[in-house]
Symmetry: C2
């Protein structure tokens, strides 16, 4: 290669220096940040959704984002925070992004071992008068959203009645006694939401707001109203024109998802013949029948993630001047939750919700040019995109997954295999794979090609805060 | 945001225009391309290797590459090439990268359906007098390397004796009769290598060169010597100083890998107690014991992938002037092959080989600044990074994978779980996930944040050819 430009090197250098100095001055001013988290949205989930929604040669909106990075998820052992753990849950991974500190499984905004409250991005924003919003298709008190506003030692402590020796799932017990207000703590997650100062909080989880708040004769919901929140419970009540604080609770717990498998089918185990049970090379196997995805009747009346986001953006960016800085975290929660239950159609529909929401965020960023849009996941999930029966179809023995398989009819008319085989329990496992991190052009210079998950906090902070 | 630089916009614009014009002139000259393919190297494989080799907070060399993209793998149905297939094999995915055309499973350099020979990047380079090299830890006639120089309808036709109704694996039959020279074809893959004009070819696969070549009284190896190849079979014979064409065949088939599991152990099935076999909520389970990775005694005497690459680079870039353009494809083949066999340590060691080779390639690119270094994978693989037993450890029922599990002791002193559960056959399945594509700075402007796999061919071509 010949560098023909050598003669004018001085001119170029001067120009580049000038541009560089400008850039420094530009990045030091505050901007908006929209952080979109697909819970459990690893590359398998994205490829599965892409193949289904737009075909294998198509591109989702998130595929078109100009900057791609990957995030190494970090988790530590609670007994010895110097020891790494290789697979995360949503609580510790969301805490990484919200507070920049790797913590242990189940913790929300608190440090591993010594249980310190970790300052989060919403609190830092508030110190500078910057508004924040949280939108989720889970309970608004679930692990991912709560890591952005609350501090408890266990994610299960979502309401005042869950604080002391509460049975959570399958005989496991959570205890947040140290976080009781009477013990000098901040109370349950729903109580902390009321105190958080969040400008907008939209999602599911009404069941966590009906209890009597600790040391008060009133329900958490009543306290929310007292704290200035307009409370809405139906999609039709969402109103972009208001400027008050807004709390939307559209379902008792996780919001119903948009799609489900045909006749509510989930992934099923291939069924080997009797002969094949006697010897692996004999007999035959019956694979699950292919299935369509269909509308989930329970979704009727729910606001879409995009509609909730539109409302949040309007409330946050409205202000008096229409030019306030803000931080907005949006979670598409059920990519993960449906994958736990081996429901491929549910995860795909939820990822479509995320992609539509991203469309909206990018349109907003076009008219508000200093808006950093980040899309990422908190951790990997069990679902694997596999051959729709087996790659070894030519071999005259039955070859099949030992796990659960869904064979999904895609929109382009083919069958796609999704394998769930991390356990045979009623809930599949997370995985420890690094997860995608994508950004719009505003992330240029801010988002390197690889980060650790806590560094996402640094990226948000450097763009959001003055 | 305030744009303080507005006053000097004209000056900046002029400078940027000048820089842009320089760039156009720079990218329009030919350069070197080093394409490194980790066979089966999806993000699970990379995260598993990272955690083992450098710890969860560490970075591999490939993690430090400045440009990250992802490649959607495309496969089509042989009977109807308009129909997509969602999971690839190495033959069709390497053909995508070598020739820019999506084809069907098992095909090497030929089109789906009508079996046309597809022009590959090595042939295009040769037309311009640009040398090429192929390095692999597989047989040099295996699917990935051969897609860069050969054209056959089935990957199994690696030597003259495999051309007609040959049994390949587990009673499956391959037939390449149409590719016989006597039928107007180009012959078997090893014969085509001899005719390819490749300047360097280093790997395993001696067993495919000892047969008598079709229509000749001589072995393929004898023909190679006749065609001007210096043939070497030992690492100690690798000589960087020569300028002749070089064929190195260091093992009969796939080269032995660097590492194996302790006492040659592979992933094993968790063993449920009798009670647990009767009911999933009863009894207990015995997980496989953790294992160290250890040196594979069979690897002794093998040249490393880095040593083969060093030789290839020296031969290709040496020339008379020391500044020839070249194309070099390097495959770390056994990430995939060891994963098929549920050998996590083998895959990790092989990924380390790739990473060391990348170090070498980047060092070369430093002294040869127009060298585009790309790192990618051909398709996903079965291995999943999972909790080392289960995430549901607090639940008083046994929870375990229905597949095979390896619990690997990492260098940082923790246990990492790797799950293989796509089937119970003796070879695990590929997956259909999109795969990483990474580049050094030379790829700036050439490598968008997402591509389809055939577009990798376009990237290589645009940089390599005048």
């Amino acid at each position: 290669m010949n560098y023909h430009c050598g003669k004018s090197a001085k001119t170029i250098f001067a120009a580049l220096l000038f541009v560089a100095l400008c850039s420094i001055s530009l990045t030091s001013t505050a901007g908006n940040v929209i952080l979109i988290i697909g819970d459990g949205m690893d590359d398998h989930q994205i490829t599965i959704a892409r193949n289904y929604l737009v075909g294998s040669r198509g591109k989702l909106t998130l595929d078109k984002l100009p900057l791609r990075s990957t995030a190494q998820v970090l988790t530590v052992d609670d007994a010895n925070p110097n020891r790494p753990i290789y697979v995360a849950d949503s609580a510790n991974s969301a805490t990484s992004m919200a507070s920049g500190v790797a913590t242990s499984i189940g913790r929300v905004g608190t440090s591993a071992g010594d249980d310190r409250d970790l300052v989060n991005i919403v609190e830092l924003a508030q110190q500078q008068g910057i508004k924040s919003g949280i939108v989720s298709t889970a309970s608004i008190t679930d692990a991912t959203p709560s890591a952005f506003y609350a501090h408890v030692n266990t994610r299960d402590c979502e309401n005042p009645e869950m604080m002391v020796q509460a049975e959570t799932y399958y005989k496991t017990i959570a205890d947040c006694s140290p976080d009781l207000k009477s013990n000098g703590g901040l109370g349950s997650i729903s109580e902390q939401l009321v105190d958080s100062g969040l400008h907008v909080a939209l999602g599911g989880g009404m069941q966590h707001f009906v209890q009597v708040a600790e040391g008060s004769g009133q329900s958490v919901l009543q306290l929310a109203k007292k704290a200035g929140y307009q409370v809405v419970t139906r999609a039709t009540e969402l109103n972009n024109n208001g400027s008050d604080k807004l709390l939307g609770l559209f379902s008792p717990s996780t919001m119903p998802v948009m799609w489900r498998g045909e006749d509510d089918r989930v992934a099923e185990k291939p069924i080997p013949s009797l002969l094949n049970r006697l010897h692996w090379a004999l007999g035959s196997v019956t694979y699950p029948e292919p299935m369509d995805c269909e509308d989930n009747p329970e979704y009727v009346g729910m606001p879409s993630l995009a509609l909730m986001t539109e409302t949040a953006l309007s409330r946050l960016a409205g202000g008096d001047s229409g030019a306030d800085s803000f931080f907005l975290m949006i979670e598409s929660a059920s990519i993960d939750k449906q994958s736990h239950e081996r429901k491929a159609c549910g995860s795909i529909g939820e990822l479509q919700q995320l992609d539509e929401t991203l469309d909206l965020a990018l349109a907003f960023a076009k008219t508000h040019p200093d808006t950093l849009v980040l899309v990422t996941a908190d951790h990997g999930q069990a679902a694997q995109l596999v051959a729709e029966r087996t790659l070894f179809v030519d071999i005259p023995v039955p070859v099949y997954s030992p796990g659960h398989v869904a064979r999904i009819n895609t929109r382009e008319g083919e069958i796609m295999g999704v394998n769930y085989a991390t356990n045979d329990f009623f809930s599949e496992e997370h995985t420890g794979v690094n997860v995608p991190l994508l950004s719009n052009d505003v992330g240029q210079g801010l988002v390197p090609a690889m980060v650790t998950q806590p560094e996402i906090f640094d990226i948000i902070k450097s763009h959001l805060l003055k």
